[in-house]
Structure formats: structure tokens, C-alpha cells
């Protein structure tokens, strides 16, 4: 109901041999292989430079394509090199639950290790470039590169902490605070990736945001509008401009509407001037 045209896409027969640029470009001038060092940098973990023995294959996905699906046998972890995705769980009644929006530097697919099949599915929200990490290789890195061992566990721990923070958000914050946090999160991620942290386009629908935050799409839309009228952000469809990141950071609950009327009166001329 949500998604338009989904299509599966499995990697071409995977050879772990050295890069073979002759191997028929899957898509024009996309980077096809990355070294271990490059993957570590992407994941923001320290890597001893020099000994580049492993090469990891890239794969391109178009918006709407699935990277992996629920129940599919697990054999691969993924690292986002570029693009935006969403990871969803589907419950017994077929309801989707968005669990995250992997972007550059994020690893996904970790949930598949437990039962040797993926518990979630991940879909590209834009054209994406994803690095494939065969799990056997990943696990073996701890043996072949002992200095990486701790970092490997750290990457998995990071995902756990992320989910824990999400539970905290869902369990205790108001709708407005959740949306505010979401914007702060996006702002920070975009900054880290070298883009503007104050001006960006959402890659996901209100529906997906709401689902992720445990809200309805209407509530998300209304909250964006409210933030807009009090001057915290400007929003036009998917285009966001963040005016007051600090207020978003500390926002717990919007003042009640009669009080808000004053704030609007103050905010409007300011917005008009800008």
C-alpha cells in the first residue's frame, strides 16, 4: 500500500577475487570496489593503513529497489556509501514499522545474524551505492586483523545503542519533541556527511516519518506546520530550512495554542524579513 514499485535485486555472481574492471560496468562509472581501509573510514572506525588485502564489492540500487527482504537467507552485511534507505519490520498483520533510515556510513543487515535470515527489509529511498560485506569475511576480520576486533563489535554495539535511544524517544516524548529530535538527527547527519545541516530535503514521506516516530502522517505534517509558524524551521513539501537548531534540541512540548498566538505574532515579521 505504501510502496510503489518494488523490485528485488540480487548481486551478480559474487567473486571475491581482485577487482576486474573489465567485468562489464553494472552502471556507468560507479565505484565498483572498496578496500578494507576505505570501508573502515566510512564506518568511522580506526584502521591501520597500509595492508590492503581485502576488496569489497559495491552495488548500485535505484529508488524503490529492495536490498534485502524479510526471511531471506542471511549472508551479507551492508554499508551505505551514498544514498538514502529505510529499514522496516513487518508484523504478523502486515503492518510496517520503520526502524531506521540508513545513510552514508551506516551498516545494516545486522539483524539477520541471529536467525541466519533477515528480520527486516531495507529499501532504497533514492539511488544508492552500497558496499557488500559477506558476513563470513566480516566475522573473519577479527581473526585476521586483531586490531580491528574491538571496532567490529563497536559497530554492532552502536546500532544497539541507536535502537535503545529510539525506544527512549518513543516511550517518553511528545509528538512535537519526537519530530524536533528527528530534525536535529537529520541536521547532524547531513552536517557529518558534509552537506548543509540547516538546509536539506527530506528523502522520506510524512507517512514514513510518522511510522518511524510512532505518529500519524497528519500529526507529522501539523507539527512541521507548527514549527514553521513559530519560526523554528521553514518547510515547503520536502524542503526544510532549520532556523533554530538549539530550540529544536531542547524542545519538549509546544506552548498551548493561546500562548502560541503571541509567538506567531512575534515570529511572522521576522520570517517575512528573512
Amino acid at each position: 500500500m505504501l510502496t510503489t514499485q518494488l523490485s528485488d535485486a540480487r548481486p551478480a555472481p559474487l567473486s571475491l577475487a581482485t577487482p576486474s574492471p573489465s567485468g562489464a560496468a553494472w552502471q556507468r562509472q560507479a565505484k565498483l570496489w572498496s578496500s578494507l581501509k576505505e570501508v573502515c573510514d566510512l564506518l568511522r572506525i580506526p584502521a591501520k593503513l597500509g595492508t590492503d588485502d581485502f576488496q569489497f564489492q559495491h552495488m548500485q540500487f535505484k529508488a524503490g529497489q529492495r536490498i534485502h527482504t524479510i526471511g531471506q537467507p542471511f549472508d551479507m552485511l551492508y554499508v551505505v556509501n551514498s544514498g538514502f534507505l529505510k529499514t522496516v519490520m513487518i508484523d504478523e498483520l502486515g503492518n510496517e514499522q520503520v526502524l531506521g533510515f540508513p545513510m552514508k556510513g551506516d551498516m545494516f543487515g545486522i539483524d539477520g545474524i541471529h536467525r541466519k535470515q533477515y528480520a527486516t527489509e531495507t529499501v532504497a529511498l533514492s539511488n544508492c551505492d552500497v558496499i557488500l560485506i559477506p558476513f563470513k569475511v566480516f566475522a573473519g576480520l577479527g581473526r585476521s586483523h586483531p586490531e580491528l576486533e574491538a571496532s567490529i563489535y563497536a559497530v554492532m554495539s552502536r546500532e544497539l545503542v541507536r535502537e535503545q535511544a529510539m525506544v527512549g524517544t518513543l516511550g517518553s516524548l511528545s509528538a512535537e519533541a519526537r519530530v524536533a529530535r528527528f530534525l536535529v538527527f537529520l541536521s547532524e547527519r547531513f552536517s557529518e556527511m558534509g552537506y548543509s545541516g540547516t538546509q536539506f530535503n527530506l528523502r522520506m514521506t510524512r507517512q514514513e516519518i510518522g511510522n518511524y516516530l510512532g505518529l500519524t502522517l497528519e500529526t507529522v505534517s501539523r507539527t512541521f506546520s507548527a514549527f514553521n509558524t513559530i519560526g523554528l524551521i521553514s518547510v515547503d513539501q520536502r524542503a526544510i530550512v532549520v532556523h533554530d537548531l538549539q530550540s529544536l534540541r531542547t524542545l519538549r512540548r509546544l506552548p498551548p495554542s493561546r500562548v502560541r498566538a503571541k509567538a506567531e505574532a512575534k515570529a511572522k515579521p521576522a520570517a517575512a524579513a528573512a
Copy 2:
């Protein structure tokens, strides 16, 4: 405000040598050491029997004691051998968020790997027996016991999947459905541990349950009462008897109160007969 008397407790000087029963019993006849095989069994992961080279120290905690605290330097993972605990996160305003109730066979402390300090704190809800796994030893097991490598990652993946399921629960279910799920979860865990799955005592307060489920303690109490009157369970303070596990499993939302009046009329004689 929630907790009564908390006290820190650090392990006695930790020696990784062979068990020394002469080393002055920390508490009378508690098991002080476990082999690698025993720990694997506890964690429900396959372990090649035989070569028992590692021994892991146990530690006893009394109800109310903290096993680890937020910000404390991370060096240890924990596996519950017996007893009940809670893991909580504390946000910038000092609000607690209960993240889980570790019990027999659960590993906790994993969140500490990421930043080399614990992101959560874990408190004993009852007297507990906990196995200490020094992280360095844990991580090294992948090297020394390659057949364990996948299982080690699987244990971490399992925790991630658990949190993901929690996000799904918080994000999409009604109060009644959350409480129902919680009871099903407890029932299943008690069964697995060899206790009755239909008759057990809660080890946590309504406050803690509510916090865990993103509800208030009053809502939890009311929901228990509602389940009681329609005959799904019997509840008396902390004592629970599950009468209809299947209904709890599939419950999404309680029927509106006028319909419920009929169900009560039907349920009451049955409850009186029992």
C-alpha cells in the same frame, strides 16, 4: 525517586586463574565459577563440548544493587545465571527509561562497547547470580574458538532484534496490546526457564512496567484489572495467573465497554467456579 536503596558493587580483585574454592566464599554455597561450555548453554548457543579452558567468575547481587552504572568505564559483559534485573537509560533531564528486564540466559552490558563506557545502568530486582565476562576474553573467543565466532555475533544480533521488536511495539500498539504482549513475553520466558508459564509473580512494579511499555502505572494497573474482569488473567498485586494465553497473543484492542459488559457477565461465573 523510583529506586529505594541503591548501592554500587564492584567485583573483588578479578583473577582469571583457575577457580580457587579456598578464596573465602563471597556468599554461602553460591556457584563461583562457570566453564565456557556452561556459559554457552546458558546463552542457548551451540558449544563444542570437551575443551574447557576458560572459567568465568560469578558474582552475587542483592535486590537493589547496581551491576553497572551509566558512564562507568566498560570492560565487562554480563550473563544472568539466576534472578531478575532491569536495564534503564537516563536522559538529559534525569528521566528514566526502562529498556529491558534481563533474566536467566540474557546477556547485558553490550551497549558499553560502543563508547567504551556503559550507556545504561542495570539494577538487580531480586537477588541475582551474574556471570562476569571480561570483554577482552569475550572478543578473543572468536579467535581461539572459531566455531563460536558466529554465535558470538548472534548473541549481539539477538539483542538488536529484541530492541527492534520493542520499537515496533511502542510505535504501533494500543496500551492493552502492549500489556498483553508483555504478559505473553513473561509467560514464554518463565516457561523456557522451567517455571510455570501460566502462574508467576511479577518482579517489577507497575511503574517499571509502564515505563518499559511507554505507559503510566495507572494505565498498566487498569489494564491488568480489565484483563482480570474479562477472564483473560487473574491478578492480585504481583501474582499473575494466565487463563487465556492465546487471546493475549492476538489481542489488539479491547472491545468497547458496553460489549465488555456482556463478557463480564459470562466471565464472572467461570471465575467464581475456579
